[in-house]
């Protein structure tokens, strides 16, 4: 590895050093604010590193990691999201029992894992990244040891994710057995479009493992429970960073190995997309718990993304990237609101907690309405442009069946978002616990929500700069 290659890894190195620094800071003194500050500085440096290495890309660094425009884009997204999650977590943890400090190193490790996944084009780095992400998440989900539901969610995620990882590994092994390589590009050349028996089985197992991480139907069973049990900011983290990184990998792998051009593979993905859109939206209809509702809706959103994934290559990459940005912003905002409204015991998750929110706390209510409208894909929000892009990709590749189901299920989706919005505009009732009081970090969380809202609207009104950025990133990665 030359120096220049090492230099190109600067963002990842900074990110890896940050949790160590944070742990050292904890060892010196347990101070929540200091740890948060270290975390933010580390993320900032790492982001700065991204800008510094930008002229060098694309670059393959060892067979394991590739730094190209696409990697930079997703790593940047992950870093920003992690910073937002950290800021949103501060006030959430402030009002809870226990030590909040170790939360941040775990969060950083998870982010590091996600970045490695997004940068990998080798099965080994993919798996290492995935495990770093996963193991940190087990701890983060169950971070509140006093809450039985948190523990339950953590254990559930642990067992199911471990099973999924085993399946994934087995899939990799089968592909390796046939191709003799763990590099994505080499598995592609040795497979050379010949899919039969072993590699088909390997591919199927691989897709199952990935679908589990993306909580696509029929591998979605864990989603509502984990979403419900995890702390609200972590729920936001799981549905954005964890899924985004894995989806980035999915795009990269199937960019190298264009297996989806085969009718049987394409059929499988179409079936998964259809099932996810339908099941996600229909099950979300039945939920009275906001976090569970958002969990099912996230299943549906990943289904929409698969529609774009199945479209023609170049359009698929840009559409997915745009949709992800929109989805990241909106879902993070939504869980941020849930976190800000949560009391010291229990979270604001029942739909009744949101009754009359817009009259009780107009600004937070307005933020939540904006986020929900963006998730529903109403114009002038980023979510609409994302959905528009996905539909475009679908229409362009004549995926009529998928497009029609997307439309039909979007209408169902609108119904449950409207149900929540209707509750917010309803007449106010006394909530279980009124959280008027200022608490440490409230301003930071409110500022994050404000920025997210402005971005959601700005990207909905004026999407050009982001489109350009995505196109340039895609051009730098040879897609």
């Amino acid at each position: 590895m030359t120096f220049i290659e090492l230099y190109a890894l600067l963002p990842l190195i900074c990110l890896a050093a940050t949790p160590v620094a944070a742990l050292a800071a904890i060892a010196v003194s347990r101070d929540h604010a200091v740890v948060t500050l270290v975390t933010l500085i580390g993320l900032g440096l790492s982001f700065f590193g991204l800008c510094a290495v930008r002229p060098l890309v694309p670059m393959q660094i060892t067979p394991l990691v590739v730094m190209d425009g696409y990697t930079l884009f997703f790593v940047g997204l992950i870093l920003i999201t992690t910073a937002a999650v950290a800021l949103l977590s501060y006030q959430y943890l402030e009002r809870r029992e226990g030590h909040p400090e170790e939360y941040y190193p775990l969060l950083l490790f998870a982010a590091l894992g996600a970045c490695v996944v997004a940068a990998s084009n080798h099965f080994a780095s993919f798996f290492v990244g995935l495990e770093t992400l996963g193991v940190s998440l087990y701890a983060l989900i169950a971070y509140q040891r006093a809450a039985p539901r948190g523990i339950e969610a953590g254990i559930k995620y642990l067992i199911l994710a471990a099973t999924a990882d085993a399946i994934l590994l087995f899939g990799m092994a089968l592909i390796y057995a046939k191709s003799g390589s763990l590099e994505f590009s080499e598995t592609a050349t040795s497979l050379a479009g010949d899919y039969s028996g072993l590699e088909m089985a390997g591919l199927a197992l691989l897709v199952s493992g990935i679908a589990f991480k993306l909580s696509l139907v029929p591998f979605h069973m864990w989603t509502p429970d984990v979403y419900e049990g995890a702390p609200a900011p972590i729920t936001g983290f799981i549905s954005t960073v964890s899924k985004g990184a894995v989806f980035a990998l999915l795009l990269r792998y199937f960019g190298e190995v264009p297996a989806q051009d085969f009718s049987s593979v394409a059929f499988c993905f179409s079936a998964i997309a259809l099932a996810s859109m339908l099941a996600g939206n229909l099950l979300a209809l039945l939920q009275d718990n906001v976090k569970r509702m958002l969990a099912y809706s996230s299943i549906a959103h990943l289904g929409y993304l698969l529609v774009a994934f199945l479209a023609q290559r170049e359009l698929a990459v840009t559409a997915v990237a745009y949709y992800f940005v929109a989805y990241f912003l909106s879902i993070l905002g939504a869980f941020g609101v849930v976190g800000i409204l949560s009391g010291s015991e229990g979270e604001a998750e029942d739909i009744k907690d949101y009754q009359g929110l817009i009259w009780r706390r107009p600004w937070i209510g307005a933020v939540f309405v904006t986020m929900l409208l963006s998730l529903a894909g109403i114009p002038l929000t980023a979510g609409f442009v994302g959905k528009f892009y996905v539909l475009w990709a679908g229409v362009d590749s004549s995926l009529w069946m998928l497009v029609l189901v997307l439309i039909g299920t979007s209408v169902i989706g609108l119904f449950y978002y409207l149900r929540l919005i209707a509750a917010m505009f309803g007449s106010p009732e006394a909530p279980r616990e009124e959280l008027r009081g200022r608490r440490a970090g409230f301003e930071a969380a409110a500022a994050v929500l404000g920025v997210l809202t402005i971005l959601v609207i700005w990207l909905g009104v004026y999407p050009s700069p982001l489109i350009e950025l995505i196109r340039r990133s895609a051009a730098l990665s040879g897609f």
Binding site: I378, F388, W392, D396, V411
Partner: protein, 529 residues
């Protein structure tokens, strides 16, 4: 200052929105101040649309007062506005109703005034935007965004019992249609783009693109569904009575007067000129649906016990006329159709105001609770009578001109349809006059009605401008028909030309296919030899 150099249409669209933003920062306690700001901005908006009328060249069929800015260059999306003789009066109608609804809600709405006014102002921006956009993407944005304020108007200030049901039904119905339309827009965009090399959502450029017939059918169907739900045509009308009945008075007024027109306007501006072959091929079906709407709407209106529901069903019937005239595809029919859009906006909007006025006093909408009201409210009775007669289509008032032109236009192509539609006029007289008689005439049987106050000055100011236009259109419709004529003629010509172009293209393809077949045949014959 030179008025003509101002971006008039942008002003028309965004003045209300600016006022809405200002209202965000006004304290909740200053209700009168907020109402005044809203009223002034709506009056300015009306002034801006009047200025647009002043600068409008009535002899030209071209898009006028156009504005063009690049919006999303990579996708060929632009901010392009313009009006012609078709949209001009819809803009004026929307502008006229703006201050009227603010005034009408002055004492009616006492709950969450600030948010109410913001919703109304945002709605005004959305509606104006729909009528002046000349870019499909821009149009879609306005079309869809407008749902949110309307949803809130029904869902927050509606009738407590069933407001959420009505509001959600309204949104879901609209969204089903409009998402399909979005897919059709995308398909059109991609098809035209790959054919011409220029990817654009510019409506005027897409007008010139001959869409192959097989694709036209599907795209027209998608547009048809979106607009037919909005109009609403039978059998997509079931959201309308609920939305109307549950909405607050001004919500119903805006819904009837302007929102429904967006559907009919959509047909004339988008669906028909973009896909003329499919539109003309499906004329018969659409006319049958329109006819069913006319007669069914009238029959159902007849048996209603609730005044507001009755007026709502009369809308279904009236908009059937609008569709009928439009699909006659001749100058009279189309002109009548556009005029009838305005007429319906004026008279049905006014009728909802009337219903709102007595509802505010008595808190019931049931016909049986009234009777003999004309004795206690004579001024009210005069206004009510005028609007009732205008809705029926009494000669000398506006409704007559529109319906007459439509029937004339329809008679030229489908005489029997005109005959059947004419029965709708008779039924309209039956249900309206019968309702009027039961509410206004007879003995004052219900003691609660004895002390009702007559109209206040504010209410007279609300209703008077509508009376002026009702009479004006009835007596001298030329003011309104003249500026329409060039655009309507252009519209019909454009439909003809494009239809022929598409047919030529199809024939050309068939011919070249035949040629190819013949060539390969002869080649094979040579080879065989």
């Amino acid at each position: 200052m030179d008025l003509a150099s101002l971006p008039l249409l942008s002003l028309v669209v965004f003045i209300p929105l600016v006022a809405a933003v200002i209202l965000l920062f006004v304290g909740r306690a200053y209700e009168t101040l907020m109402r005044t700001i809203a009223l002034v901005s709506m009056l300015l908006d009306l002034a801006a649309s009047a200025a647009a009328y002043y600068f409008f060249d009535a002899s030209s069929a071209a898009m006028q007062l156009t504005e063009y800015h690049v919006w999303v260059p990579t996708w060929g999306i632009s901010y392009k506005l313009g009006i012609d003789g078709i949209s001009l009066f819809l803009v004026l109608l929307t502008g006229l109703l703006g201050p009227i609804v603010i005034l009408a809600s002055w004492e009616d709405i006492k709950y969450r005034v600030k948010e109410f006014l913001i919703s109304l102002l945002a709605l005004q921006t959305g509606m104006m935007g729909v009528f002046v956009s000349l870019d499909l993407f821009l149009f879609y944005v306005f079309w869809e965004v407008m749902l949110i304020p309307m949803y809130l108007l029904i869902g927050v200030w509606g009738n407590p019992a069933r407001k959420l049901y009505a509001a959600i039904k309204f949104v879901l119905y609209t969204v089903v249609g409009s998402l399909l339309m979005l897919v059709a827009i995308l398909a059109l965009y991609l098809m035209a783009g790959s054919a011409s090399g220029e990817y654009t959502f510019d409506l005027l450029k897409l007008y010139d693109f001959p869409v192959p017939i097989y694709a036209q059918l599907w795209m027209f169907l998608a547009f048809f569904l979106a607009f037919a739900i909005k109009v609403p045509m039978f059998p997509f009308h079931t959201w309308l009575p609920d939305a109307h009945t549950e909405a607050p008075t001004v919500g119903s007024v805006v819904l009837a007067a302007v929102l429904l027109k967006m559907g009919t306007y959509g047909f004339i501006r988008f669906a028909i000129p973009l896909f003329p072959n499919a539109a003309i091929d499906s004329t018969w079906w659409i006319m049958v649906l329109a006819l069913i709407g006319i007669i069914y709407g009238a029959w159902v209106a007849m048996v209603q016990v609730d005044v507001k529901r009755l007026v709502a069903f009369s809308s279904v019937s009236h908009l059937g006329f609008v569709m009928l005239g439009m699909f006659a595809f001749n100058v009279r029919g189309v002109e009548g159709s556009i005029l009838q859009m305005i007429n319906h906006g004026l008279s049905t909007g006014a009728l909802f105001l009337i219903v709102g006025i007595i509802y505010e006093r008595r808190h019931t909408r049931l016909i049986e609770d009234y009777g003999g009201i004309s004795k206690v409210m004579p001024i009210f009775a005069v206004f009510f009578m005028i609007f009732t007669l205008s809705s029926i289509g009494l000669p000398g008032l506006n409704g007559f001109v529109g319906e007459f032109l439509i029937l004339l236009g329809t008679f030229e192509v489908y005489p029997w349809f005109a005959v059947l539609a004419a029965t709708g006029v008779i039924f309209a007289a039956v249900y309206m006059l019968w309702m009027f008689q039961r509410v206004m005439f007879g003995e004052l049987t219900n003691p609660k009605n004895v002390g009702l106050k007559d109209l206040s000055y504010r209410e007279i100011v609300v209703l008077a401008p509508l009376v002026v236009f009702v009479v004006w259109i009835g007596v001298y419709p030329d003011t309104f028909l003249k500026p329409m004529e060039p655009s309507v003629k252009q519209f019909l010509k454009q439909v003809e030309v494009k239809k022929a172009a598409v047919l030529d293209q199809e024939n050309g393809k068939k011919l070249s296919a035949l040629d190819l077949a013949a060539q390969s045949h002869s080649r094979r014959a040579v080879n065989d030899r």
